[in-house]
């Protein structure tokens, strides 16, 4: 528990959390490792979990006719999973370990109950997840703009 707390304190995502809330988060977390190829989330399946990636890489994949196409990868320090936040609590893409993976896995079902009971905790977590979602949305938009293909430059700018 103390060890987990120390890990959380070092993560950018949890940087400005109240220590009391961090302790609570640590209580919902457990270290968990996965082998390369393991599937952490499956499109459309219920999810009551999110992960903090400590080592390794996870690919978020969409299913197309040709198979699974990675549209984003996550690495150390990244948070995986926000489907637990809002109904229907189902994943909207696949998440697969592309390397051996070391994570902190959070029990989001428990956490959600705590958030309902403690609005301050709920607000803090919502705020941080909202920022995360905005970040991912902006990234997706940038990707959609295909910024490197529009003429581009002759030498780098």
């Amino acid at each position: 528990m103390k060890e987990l707390l120390a890990i959380l304190e070092q993560q950018p995502f949890f940087e400005d959390f109240d220590p009391k809330h961090l302790r609570l988060l640590a209580a919902c977390a457990a270290e968990r490792s996965y082998e390369s190829g393991a599937r952490l989330m499956r499109d459309h399946e219920p999810t009551e979990t999110f992960w903090l990636i400590r080592e390794g890489q996870v690919a978020l994949e969409g299913r197309v006719r040709e198979g699974n196409v990675p549209f984003m990868t996550l690495g150390p320090g990244d948070i995986l999973g926000w489907s637990w936040l809002l109904p229907p609590y189902r994943a909207s893409y696949d998440a697969r370990a592309t390397t051996d993976l070391h994570t902190l896995r959070f029990d989001a079902g428990v956490l959600r109950e705590r958030m309902e009971a403690d609005p301050a905790l709920g607000y803090t977590l919502m705020k941080h997840f909202a920022a995360l979602i905005v970040q991912r949305l902006q990234a997706a938009r940038l990707q959609a703009l295909d910024i490197y293909s529009h003429g581009g430059s002759e030498h780098g700018h």
Binding site: P76, Q135, Q143
Partner: protein, 286 residues
Amino acid sequence: MATDAAATLPDQVMAPQPWRIYSVHRDVASNEVFSWELRPAPGVEPGTLPAPGQFNMLYLFGVGEVPISVSAITDDGGIVHTIRAVGSVTRAMQDLEAGAVVGLRGPFGTAWPLEQARGRDLVLVAGGIGLAPLRPVIHAALERRADFGRVVVCYGARAPGDMIFRDELDAWAARDDLDLRVTVDRGTAAWRGDVGVVTQLIDRGGFDRRNTLAMVCGPEVMMRFAASSLERRGVKPEDIFVSMERNMRCAVGFCGHCQIGAHFVCRDGPVFPYPVMEPAFRIREL
């Protein structure tokens, strides 16, 4: 009334000097991107060596002139330029082989503020061929590695096949004194690296927010989002530097083409502190 100012302009400033292509390196499968190592033709004074971030005007006899950033300086004074063949002049340059003579005048413009980064973490963010103007910074930082804290290089390309300096990227990835993070917008079946835009590499942190200097080079929209990500990570806007591209022709503030507001990019840039260029990212067609 007569002016006092006599014509003291050294010819090298405006007249292309003959430089020989010592070697050609074609980087990407498409051959769209190529690098030249240039050395002065016999009898030509090499002049001042460019600093990382500066550019030269490269000239092709009978065709025209283009501004190209320096992408490396060799130990014995060769200047390397990395060029993407997307305009009429650069397309004509694409077919030249070692031994050919081109024109060069320069160096021009402002340099990356490497001295200002001494004793601090250095974060370099490059998009696409924007890695070329930052490469000499990486070389310099590795040469005097002890002068800097963590050195983080975030590089984003469209797809694995568009990445430049592949051999060097592999070498950098193998070093433990350089934190190289590479991502592509579009993965392939064979690609094992990261997928996603380059700003996500910044979001992963790994540098001291209070003591970091960042240099960003790539398409404007990418620089804007990279600056936001850096700011979000706590880097002060004045510690973020960007390299701008406009229609630089004369390189000395005479021809008027490269203005952004009050700035001549050729003379006052191309490297600017981010706050100075912030309006250019915000105001359309400035």
